[in-house]
Amino acid sequence: MRENIYLPYQMKIERVTYEAPGVKTFMLKFINEEDREKFEFKAGQFGEYSVYGVGESTFCIASSPTRKGYIECTFRQTGRVTNALSNCEEGSIIGFRGPYGNVFPIEEWKGKNLLFIAGGIALPPMRCVIWNCLDLRENFRDVTIIYGARSVKDLVYKHELKDWELRKDVKLITTVDPGGESPDWRGEIGFVPTIVEKTAPSAKDTIAIVCGPPVMIKFTFPVLAKLGFSDDNIYTTLENRMKCGFGKCGRCNVGKVYVCKDGPVFTLAQLKDLPDEY
């Protein structure tokens, strides 16, 4: 436990990957060797990434905890800090505070089928838990990933999608919104909830992990309910306005819950208990 809880780790941007228009991935390495050795996190957790002089921004840790020595984050250029981050180059130094939040209960999922559903820029929080599970592949039965974006160029992690497609132990279905296909697109065409319904994965012994823009989530939950998924077996990760990350600044307080401490991972059952203020 660091004495000054507001003090970030110093990180060097090792690699910048352009994912999609306005979306980049940073691979970050701890500058201090002791920090690098000691740092640990679990899938689902997030951090506060900062550009000194500009501010801090909240994103999940998008790399898997099974891969040591570095972390990755993916963000879209939207506001003040993400714009400043976007201007950072390989070799730049940024700050990182974390890991914060609760975790995906992967231990509880062992022996079950896993269904990952993600949309657009929401694949990053899922990517962490997907790779975590794939690195422990023998613990799970069937693994299905359904991922969609507005158009082909908006799909993130295009390399990983290829990897997942080639794997025999993963069923990957990618889709783009109608009108978003390119001439050589061979995936599905349709909104993510529609494709989920079409794929009709079995709810028996299956955990569903859903992450996406509010409109996608809103229409996906009823589809899963229709397929027989219970609210306790559907997990999601909530986006919210956060600042401190450790339950003190008050920004992410929703009902009796602090999204930064009791979340961002919630089951649908837990979400339904929260007041509609997120």
Partner: protein
């Protein structure tokens, strides 16, 4: 103020007005806003010289507007604010019915905002003697002394923005301080940042502030930053041909003239 109560009962009962904004007695004899929606709510209406909150601040509040046609009991400052708001397209006759209260506490049932405008022209906007003396005292200081004065006065300000919230003219959905690309005004409270905020606000109000003191009255720390606004009013009068807020017709800060010599720029 039985006449007012009867008037309001009538307006609400007939459905002419859906919500009437007036004053009522609050804690420890203080006065606060009352939103009367049913005729019987009018019973709570009061009026006396301690009713100084500028009620015009509520006519741009979404939750009040969406109730429908508004009515308001308007003292002179409130009337001035309403006329200025109308000029800035924030309120119109189709949205508000004004019941004026003269300095002698008589009621005037205004037919429309033009009548309110005509009425307020009877009164010059004068800054009171005590404040004029203070402005003179500040004028006599050197630039450096004045700067130190303001840094000292504004250091305790904790940026609660009560001044902004209470001002009828500060109706921007997103205030300049709420932009962070770029961050025009620093967020944290410290003397220089506080000074930036108050100066910026005074400048944004030039020609629009009608000297109602709602801002300084709202300040929990009784900081006299309204002196900045009063100075702006005096400057406008001195340098813009006797300009008086709301009485002088145009929008002072948007009156560009191509033949302006701009010889204040050195």
């Amino acid at each position: 103020m039985d006449e007012l109560k009867n008037k309001v009962r009538e307006l609400l009962g007939s459905g002419t007005v859906k919500v009437f904004i007036g004053y009522t007695t609050g804690t420890a004899g203080t006065k606060r806003a009352l939103f009367a929606e049913k005729p019987e709510d009018a019973e709570g209406l009061v009026f006396d010289s301690s009713c100084i909150q500028n009620l015009a601040v509520y006519v741009t509040k979404q939750e009040v507007k969406e109730k429908g046609m508004m009515g308001i009991s308007a003292t002179l400052p409130v009337m001035r604010s309403l006329v200025q708001l109308a000029r800035e397209n924030q309120v119109s006759d189709s949205g508000i019915k004004v019941i004026g209260i003269t300095p002698e506490s008589r009621l005037i049932d205004f037919g429309n905002l033009s009548e309110v405008e005509k009425y307020i022209h009877q009164f010059q906007l004068e800054i009171d003697q005590k404040n004029r003396d203070m402005l003179e005292k500040l004028d006599k200081m050197t630039v450096s002394e004045r700067w130190q004065f303001w840094l000292k006065e504004l250091e305790p300000c904790f940026k609660c923005y009560a001044c902004r919230a209470a001002c009828p003219m500060c109706y921007c959905h997103r205030c300049t301080v709420e932009y962070n690309q770029p961050q025009w005004i620093p967020v944290p409270s410290h003397a220089s940042g506080n000074l930036q905020w108050h100066i910026m606000r005074a400048v944004h109000l030039v020609g629009r502030c009608i000297d109602c003191d709602a801002c300084a009255n709202a300040c929990p720390l009784a900081i006299p930053f309204n002196l900045l606004n009063k100075r702006m009013i005096e400057d406008a009068r001195k340098h813009f041909g006797g300009y008086q807020p709301v009485l002088s017709g145009d929008h002072l800060m948007s009156t560009f003239k191509p033949d302006d010599k701009e010889n204040f720029i050195r």
